[in-house]
Amino acid sequence: MTEPDPDMAAAELALGVLEGEDRADALRRVLADPAFAREVDRWRDHFAVLFDHWPEAAPPPRVERRVMKGIAPDRVTGRFWPGIAITVSAVAAVLAGVIILRPPSAISPPSEAAGPVITLVANLAPTRGGAAIPAIYDARRQEIRVGAAALVEPGRAEELWIIPADGVPRSLGLLSASSRTTVRLTPAHRALIDATAKLALSSEPAGGSPTGRPTGPILASGQFISI
């Protein structure tokens, strides 16, 4: 070994050994450098081979009963709004969204100060392609922050929806097309937010959907992922 400090950040990120500032730096690179992002994906694929060697352990039978009950058909699922094709991006890509919306200093390991507490992130993938729009849920401030989208033609509005496990979209309000939007959540909306919920953006008449349901085409959507 001659090189004292090989730059292995892509592999380190895929392996999961980074934390704090180092991890934040690596996530920033995922966002800024497509070649680096591909490298992270390649390492993930390499390491995935090791799953084969993971020792198995049979869970108790009660887990299967609980899981099957958890998906019981009495819950209305995504049929309500079939137009949405949810694409879950690689976790790194989703996490990278955090970087846009948080100053670097806030990414350090959890502190007890009254700073933001980011528990869920989503990457809203535009239906027509292009850069994803990051969204984060700050549990302490009870708000969702969404990056600028600018997907809608002039004269129309971008409306943000949350689609919880019941598949019924609820409006979270209109977004600014030119800058980041902070959406304050009501207690009713907060109750809908967990890692099974999706976020979606639709194109609506100026002022928002007149019906309380999305009326225009879906511009972007993405699944929350807990971090």
Partner: protein, 194 residues
């Protein structure tokens, strides 16, 4: 489904196909297919959860969440892009790591535990992920210094950070980083060497 889950273990390709088929059907909200996915994979995924969480009850809860997530996200599984078991196992590993870091859990398994995981080539009937990539990775891992290899394997199997790795093996943080980075650099050269 033409291929039954019981038969599928007789061949890695059969297992992969049966699982892919069941996972794709799960994406169409087919509950029976989802149950097949559960039965084909729950021992693997529970093994992942229990090792990373280090606590049986927590691992059960995490496993439950993992399968609910799989049910929700199966529609986004791309059969051509990822191996089904890797896709599922990645969800389980990430969820279990989330739990660990959120609960400030300390690893209950010492560093040496990674040695207990066999690191030879997988037996054909166990290999749900088959192919040249497997053999290459194992050959390359085998070529690393033992300390480097063990640190990388432990990071993967225990879901731990540099800091935890260093604490568990009682070496300075800088030493641990150096082991892992040098090991990864060498692994990369080996993997790219055709």
């Amino acid at each position: 489904m033409g291929t039954s889950g019981d038969q599928s273990r007789s061949g890695s390709e059969g297992a992969r196909l049966a699982l892919t088929e069941a996972l794709v059907a799960t994406g169409d909200e087919d509950r029976l297919a989802f149950q097949r996915v559960y039965r084909m994979t729950s021992a693997k995924l529970f093994g992942i959860c229990i090792r990373i969480c280090g606590d049986a009850q927590a691992a059960e809860d995490v496993l439950h969440e993992v399968y609910l997530t799989i049910w929700k996200r199966a529609g986004s599984f791309q059969p051509g892009r990822a191996s089904p078991i890797s896709w599922l196992a990645t969800i389980a590993r990430n969820r279990a790591i989330d739990w660990r870091r959120a609960n400030g859990a300390r690893a209950t398994t010492p560093l040496a535990m990674a040695d207990n995981i066999p690191d030879g080539s997988p037996a054909a009937d166990e290999a749900m992920i088959a192919g040249e990539a497997d053999r290459r990775l194992h050959l390359c891992l085998d070529s690393l210094d033992a300390e480097h290899r063990n640190a990388i394997r432990t990071a993967f199997f225990n879901g731990v950070t540099y800091r935890e790795l260093a604490e568990q093996s009682a070496v300075p943080l800088g030493t641990m980083k150096s082991w892992v980075r040098r090991g990864l650099a060498r692994l990369k050269r080996c993997l790219e060497d055709d």
